[in-house]
Symmetry: C2
Subunit: 354 residues, 2 copies
C-alpha cells in the first residue's frame, strides 16, 4: 500500500504538500505540483478514503432506508438515488427496514456510527419513527411520505386519489370501487381523495374491498380477499382503483379466475406506475408517481443540507394519470394513444374542482 508519505519521500517534499496537490490547493508552485503528480502516477497512488474520512470529517456516504428493496416502486427509486448520488460523488449504503421500527432503529444507529453524511429514508412510521431520526446527528430527507421537522419529497396521495376518480368519470364509469387499505397512512389519503371527488360528483363507492397492502412480496392475500369478496358480496363495479400496482395485478388475477376480463368486463387502475404497470397485459392505467424525480430531488435536497446547511423543506411533486389499456373499454389497443391524448389533456389541471 503506497501512502502519501511514500510519494512525499520520492518527490522530496512533505506529506502536506502532497495533500495540497491532490486537493487542488492553489498555493503550490507549478513545478512542485508536477513533480508530485509525476510520482502519484508512477507509484499508482490511491487515496485512502477511510483515513480521509477520519481526518476530514466527511465520508461521502449516504444511507438509504427502504421498507423493501425488491418491490418495483422502491427499486426504481433506489436506482434513481444511486444514480444521482454517484454523479455527485457519493456512495450509498442500502438498508432494508422490513417495515420494522426496531430494525430501523438499529440501522440508524449503525449509520450514525459509520458517520454517514446524511440519510434518505422511507420511514417505517411518520410518527413512531420520529425519535430515531432525531437522534441522527446528520440531515435526513424523507421520501414518499411527509414527516414534520424533516425535509420530505412526496406526492399528494389525496390529489392522486382525486385524479384517478376524475379519470374514471371522464371514462364514463358510474359504478366505482376501491381495493386496498382504507385506514393506513398514505392509503387512507388516496382513499379519501378518491371518495371525496366521487361524492362531489354525486357518486358513492359501490364496492370497497378492504385488504392490506402487499408487503414483502407476500401478495397472495390480496388475491384471496378479492375472490372472497366476490363470492360473499359480489362484484358490482365497472371500475376499481387499486391501492398500488401489485394490488392491481393481484386483483386482475382474481377477476380473471372469476371469469371477468379486463378491461371489457371490469376496468382497473393502479397506483405508482412502477415497471409492473408497463409490462402486464393489458397495460395498466396508473397514477404515476415521478419515481425518478423523487430520487433525484431527494439527493439534491440532502446535499444542500449537508454542504450548505440549508433548512429542511417540504417538496410536493406533481403526479399524473397515465392512461393505458386497463381502463379503456370498447377501444382496441391500437387506439390507446388517441385515448391517451384525450385523457392526459383532461387531467392536466392537477387539482380537483371544489
Amino acid at each position: 500500500m503506497v501512502s502519501m508519505q511514500d510519494i512525499a519521500d520520492k518527490a522530496g517534499v512533505s506529506r502536506v504538500t502532497v495533500s495540497r496537490v491532490l486537493s487542488n490547493h492553489p498555493s503550490v508552485k507549478a513545478e512542485t505540483r508536477q513533480k508530485v503528480l509525476h510520482w502519484v502516477k508512477e507509484l499508482d497512488y490511491e487515496p485512502n478514503l477511510i483515513a480521509q474520512s477520519l481526518a476530514g470529517n466527511r465520508t461521502n456516504i449516504i444511507g438509504l432506508l427502504v421498507p423493501e428493496i425488491a418491490y418495483p416502486f422502491f427499486s426504481e427509486i433506489i436506482e434513481s438515488i444511486e444514480n444521482q448520488a454517484f454523479y455527485e460523488g457519493y456512495s450509498v449504503i442500502i438498508c432494508n427496514t422490513h417495515r420494522s421500527l426496531d430494525k430501523e432503529k438499529n440501522i440508524l444507529a449503525q449509520l450514525r456510527q459509520r458517520k454517514v453524511d446524511g440519510v434518505i429514508a422511507v420511514p417505517v412510521s411518520t410518527t413512531q419513527s420520529l425519535p430515531a431520526y432525531q437522534r441522527l446527528q446528520v440531515p435526513a430527507v424523507m421520501i414518499t411520505k411527509k414527516m414534520e421537522g424533516f425535509s420530505s419529497v412526496y406526492i399528494s396521495h389525496y390529489n392522486g386519489g382525486q385524479q384517478i376518480a376524475r379519470h374514471f368519470l371522464n371514462m364514463g364509469f358510474q359504478k366505482i370501487g376501491y381495493i386496498g387499505p382504507t385506514k393506513e397512512s398514505t392509503s387512507a389519503l388516496k382513499y379519501a381523495g378518491f371518495q371525496q371527488y366521487l361524492s362531489d360528483n354525486q357518486i358513492d363507492l359501490t364496492d370497497v374491498i378492504e385488504c392490506p397492502a402487499p408487503e414483502n412480496m407476500n401478495t397472495s392475500l390480496v388475491y384471496k380477499l378479492v375472490k372472497q369478496y366476490a363470492e360473499n358480496t359480489g362484484l358490482h363495479c365497472e371500475a376499481y382503483l387499486a391501492n398500488d400496482d401489485i394490488t392491481a395485478c393481484e386483483a386482475i388475477s382474481a377477476f380473471r379466475e372469476l371469469g371477468y376480463t379486463v378491461p371489457q368486463d371490469i376496468a382497473i387502475a393502479g397506483f405508482d406506475n412502477s415497471l409492473l404497470a408497463k409490462e402486464i397485459s393489458p397495460k395498466l392505467t396508473a397514477l404515476a408517481q415521478p419515481l425518478d424525480e423523487i430520487g433525484k430531488k431527494s439527493v439534491e435536497i440532502l446535499l444542500d443540507q449537508i454542504n450548505n446547511n440549508a433548512e429542511p423543506c417540504m417538496y410536493e411533486l406533481e403526479s399524473r394519470v397515465i392512461a393505458r389499456e386497463s381502463t379503456i373499454r370498447f377501444v382496441s389497443p391500437k387506439q390507446e394513444s388517441l385515448a391517451h391524448a384525450i385523457l392526459t389533456n383532461a387531467s392536466s389541471s392537477p387539482h380537483a374542482p371544489a
Copy 2:
C-alpha cells in the same frame, strides 16, 4: 461527540481498557468492566466505525455491483444479499454499472479506496472486466455468471434451456420458437441448451426471433421486433421460450396486439422467475433461478474468503421449471396445481437424456 477517552477519564482507567471491555477481551477484572460499562451507558457512548476501520483494518462493508438496480431479477438478488449481509454484521454499498466497463472500473477503484472488505458483482463482461477485478485487493465473488479465477455463484443456463425444452415437449408442443439474443454470453448458452434438447428429440426451432435483451428498462425494442417478425415472416409456433421475464411480457403484449391470446393460441415461457412472472396474467411459466439462494450463498462464500482466507470456488445452483398458466393450454387456471405437480415431477432429473 463522546470518545473512548471520555469514558476512560470518567471510569478512571485508560483508553485501552475501555477498548478491551468493548471488544469483550477476557482479561479485564469484572469490577473494572462494570465501571466502564456503567459510563458507556451513562454517556451514551457509540463507537466510531471510521476510526475503528482505520486502526483495525476492516470496514465491515461489502460492495455490490449490478448492471441495473430496478430490474426485478436483480433487485430480488440485491434484497437477498442485503439481508444476509446485515445478518452477518456487514453494510452493503450498492453500485450500478449500467453495463459500462468504464463505469465498472471507476466503481471498483472507488470501492478499493473505501477499503471495502470484499465485493459481490455481476461483472459487465466475463472477459473484459477481468483486469479490473484482479486489481482489487480484496476477495470478489461473481454472481449469475461464471468468471475464471473468481468465486462464482450461478445456474447452468445451458441446462436451463434444456429444462424448458423438456417442459415444452412434455406439454405436447411440436412447433417451438425462441425470442431473444442468440449470441450473447448467458443467452447463447440457454439458446444452445434449448436447441440441443429439441434437436435431440428430432425437433428444429421453427421461429427464432432475434432481439437484444431489454436493458435499462428500455423494453420497447422487443415488442417492436416481435411484431415486425410476425408481419414479415409470420408466427408459426405453438410455444416460445423468451430470454427473460421482461422479454416474455413484451412478447405477450405483441401477441395480444396481433390478436393471439396466451396460452390458448400461443404458449410462452420466461426465464428467471422474477416478480413479473408471478404477477402478470396469465401467470408466466418460467425457468426459476434461485434468486434468494444466489444472494445468500454469495455472501457466505465472500465472508468465508474474507475471514478464513478460503479458496475461490465455483458454485452451480439448481434451476427448475415453474409451470404456470402461460404454457398450459386447454386447462383452466384452477387445474394449474395439478398440472404443476405433473410437470415438476417430469422435470425432476436436472440433466437431459443424451
